[in-house]
């Protein structure tokens, strides 16, 4: 048992940055997912988080578990990938997937805020009228774009740091 702790201590000491980045990535993903719900309930509805307490707590738990697994998987894959190009492609795929969720969440947040419903059949019915594009230029929409950009660069920064610290000390 003692040797196990010694072993962990050694690994943790040698890979402190990777471990911190893994935890950081978990927290970042969890914050990204959970804050979406908190902001839309607080800013875009007549309700408070307390009105949806049970489902909010359940959804948060799912997000937390997912974030922990996803962040750990990303760290493991980054550790096992040897070639810098493979790591870069992997980061590209991750950023693409992250942007996809941002894109979807951006529209769904806007749909909830402006019309009170999730993106639904009615949204798609009117999505392609040119007159409907006006909603893309409101102050709220601009705030959403800013949030999307900030989250994206936050993710990019974390993955870049992982790339640096899992690449045998070589800087990209």
């Amino acid at each position: 048992m003692k040797s196990l702790f010694e072993n962990i201590k050694t690994i943790a000491g040698e890979n402190r940055n990777v471990i911190l980045l893994g935890i950081g990535l978990t927290l970042y993903l969890a914050f990204y997912f959970i804050s979406w719900h908190v902001t839309i309930i607080s800013l875009g509805s007549f309700y408070s988080v307390l009105d949806a307490a049970e489902s909010f707590v359940a959804q948060s738990a799912r997000y937390l578990v997912f974030s922990a697994i996803a962040a750990s998987a990303v760290c493991a894959i980054m550790l096992f990938l040897k070639r810098p190009l493979a790591k870069k492609i992997f980061i590209g795929v991750l950023l693409f997937l992250f942007f996809c969720t941002e894109f979807i969440r951006m529209f769904d947040w806007g749909a909830l805020y402006f019309s009170g419903n999730h993106v639904d059949a009615n949204f798609w019915t009117h999505a392609f009228y040119s007159d409907s594009t006006t909603f893309l230029f409101t102050m709220v929409s601009i705030a959403i774009y800013l949030a999307v950009i900030l989250f994206f660069f936050g993710m990019f920064y974390l993955l870049k740091q992982l790339y640096i610290h899992t690449g045998n000390g070589e800087r990209p």
Partner: protein, 523 residues
């Protein structure tokens, strides 16, 4: 080494999320105790305190309506209540957005094509209630419940005692912005000469003296008058109203098959809610001119508010009519704008003081006067039915409130009696008055009845001459204007939700008229 490190990260991540999860749970739990007095997160189930609410009540009386700030506060309160009735599920905000987005995308582009969308079907009891009020549902087609075989509920009720308009007669309909009939009653409000030209036309015409507007605002008013249909959708995205998603049967569609040239001229923008597209692509209008076209003649007329002023509008119309040399009969509809807030004041009436609403009405009357004087002497006077009405009654704007404080008995914002004057060719039936209680949904069926035209249709209105006596709309709250007081239990709310869902589904799914509908007149 790498495997051990990966497992270590996984273990630490789970330790961290356990801590964070604990913080989230305890924050919510604490919040419940502090703000709600509950001790368990699991007690909410769709908003704990609302579970005790079995009724929804609201009150909007004249006293409140006469105070704009109080009215807005009440309206906000009502909106919140209606929103909660409609979306009474705070849990909907915790659903997974990716799943909602992709699910709806898939459903819209694939499933809805197969299943035809979610449909609300009314039960027998509700259908019977409608039938007793003169609305026939599901009589032709289950997919298009408004469709019925005739403009009459019972074709044997056609009456010979009605004015007759020969098909081929030109028809001009003028929809004056927000013109409540009250403004023409100078013997009541006391401002002599506020609307002399409308009053002159009233004297020279046949008049429906008890017509209410069925819809508000302008576009819905036009749909009610031209398509005999109440349009309920009022969806907006970022304060921009989205275009109307369905097709109606306008009188223009019917007259088009009788070889009429159809034209709409309005002082407002052509692009607003896609109006030009709606009229020209769906409702058989040959020409549509709005502010963009009219501005070419007079750029300064765009000053203040949206659209051009009514002087420019009527000048344009007179010019257009003068130039029109076509051999086909004409169906011309016109919408004015001066009396829409912010008001366009071109002329001031000494008795109106600084009230912009009254001065804007006076300005519209003067602009109409130019047209009216032209019309009476023009080649159109003896072969044209000229109908003047309003798109709807005056809204509850500050100027209206200020003026109506002196006439509280007549204070009916949004829904009120509107003028409806018909100048028949050659001035026939001049001065005749029809006091039947009716609304502007009845305009199109009545004009068709006078022209002896009948066809399958989705109209909600009935001919005032033929069907009205069987389905009187007298009584109820019609004459009170907008004064809402009520308390509704869950059963009534469920019924209302079903009814609203029924109509909204018709509009959203474009099920007013069958896709392959073609106007076929009975001979």
């Amino acid at each position: 080494m790498k495997l051990k490190l990966s497992l270590l990260i996984l273990g630490l991540n789970f330790a961290v999320v356990l801590v964070v999860g604990g913080i989230v749970y305890s924050s919510v739990w604490m919040g419940k105790i502090i703000f709600r007095g509950n001790t368990g997160v699991g007690e909410q189930a769709g908003g704990g305190e609302r579970q005790g609410e079995s009724t929804v009540s609201f009150e909007l009386d004249k006293k409140t309506l006469l105070d704009r700030d109080k009215t807005m506060s009440k309206v906000d309160e009502m909106k919140e209540k209606i929103f909660k009735i409609r979306n009474d599920d705070p849990n909907s905000y915790t659903r997974l957005p990716e799943s909602e987005f992709l699910g709806s995308l898939f459903a819209y582009f694939f499933l809805s094509r197969i299943a035809g969308g979610k449909e609300v079907v009314l039960d027998e009891e509700m259908i019977k209630e409608f039938r007793n009020k003169g609305t026939l549902l599901y009589s032709m087609d289950k997919q298009y419940p408004l469709m019925k075989r005739s403009i009459y509920i019972d074709r044997s009720r056609k009456t010979p005692n009605k004015p007759v308009v020969r098909p081929g007669t030109n028809i001009i309909m003028i929809f004056v912005e927000s013109l409540s009939d009250f403004f023409l009653r100078e013997e009541i409000h006391g401002i002599k000469g506020l609307t002399p030209n409308f009053r002159d036309m009233e004297r020279e015409s046949f008049r429906f003296s008890n017509m209410y507007n069925a819809s508000f605002p302008t576009l819905k008013g036009l749909i009610a008058s031209l398509g005999s249909c109440i349009y309920l959708l009022d969806e907006s995205i970022g304060s921009t109203r989205i275009p109307v998603p369905c097709r109606f049967l306008f009188i223009s569609d019917i007259l088009k098959t009788l070889d009429y040239t159809t034209i709409h001229i309005q002082a407002g923008s052509e692009r607003f809610i896609g109006m030009k597209d709606i009229f020209t692509k769906r409702q058989s209008y040959d020409y549509f001119y709005g502010a963009e076209s009219l501005t070419i003649d007079n750029i300064t007329s765009m000053k203040r508010g949206f659209g051009v002023d009514d002087d420019t509008l009527f000048d344009y119309i007179i010019g257009w009519l003068e130039k029109y040399q076509g051999s086909r009969p004409l169906f011309l509809t016109i919408s004015t704008i001066n009396s829409h807030p912010p008001f366009k004041v071109k002329s001031r009436h000494p008795g109106a003081g600084d009230n912009d609403m009254l001065n804007a009405l006076y300005s519209t009357d003067r602009a109409f006067g130019k047209f009216w004087n032209y019309f009476k002497k023009s080649k159109y006077a003896n072969n044209t039915l000229l109908l003047v009405t309003a798109d709807h009654a005056m809204g509850n704007n500050k100027e209206y409130i200020k003026f109506m404080k002196h006439f509280e008995d007549h204070y009916r914002p949004f829904f009120d009696v509107i003028p409806c004057f018909l100048h028949f060719p050659g001035g026939a039936l001049k001065g005749v008055r029809n006091d039947t209680s009716c609304n502007n949904l009845d305009i199109t069926p009545t004009v068709l009845d006078m022209m002896n035209i009948d066809l399958p249709n989705p109209f909600m209105g009935l001919s005032i001459f033929s069907e009205r006596p069987f389905y009187s709309k007298k009584g109820g709250d019609l004459g009170k204007g907008l004064e809402l007081k009520g308390s509704y239990d869950q059963k009534q709310i469920a019924k209302a939700k079903k009814l609203i869902g029924f109509y909204i589904n018709l509009y959203r799914q474009d099920r007013i008229l069958p896709k392959d509908f073609q106007v076929k007149l009975y001979r």
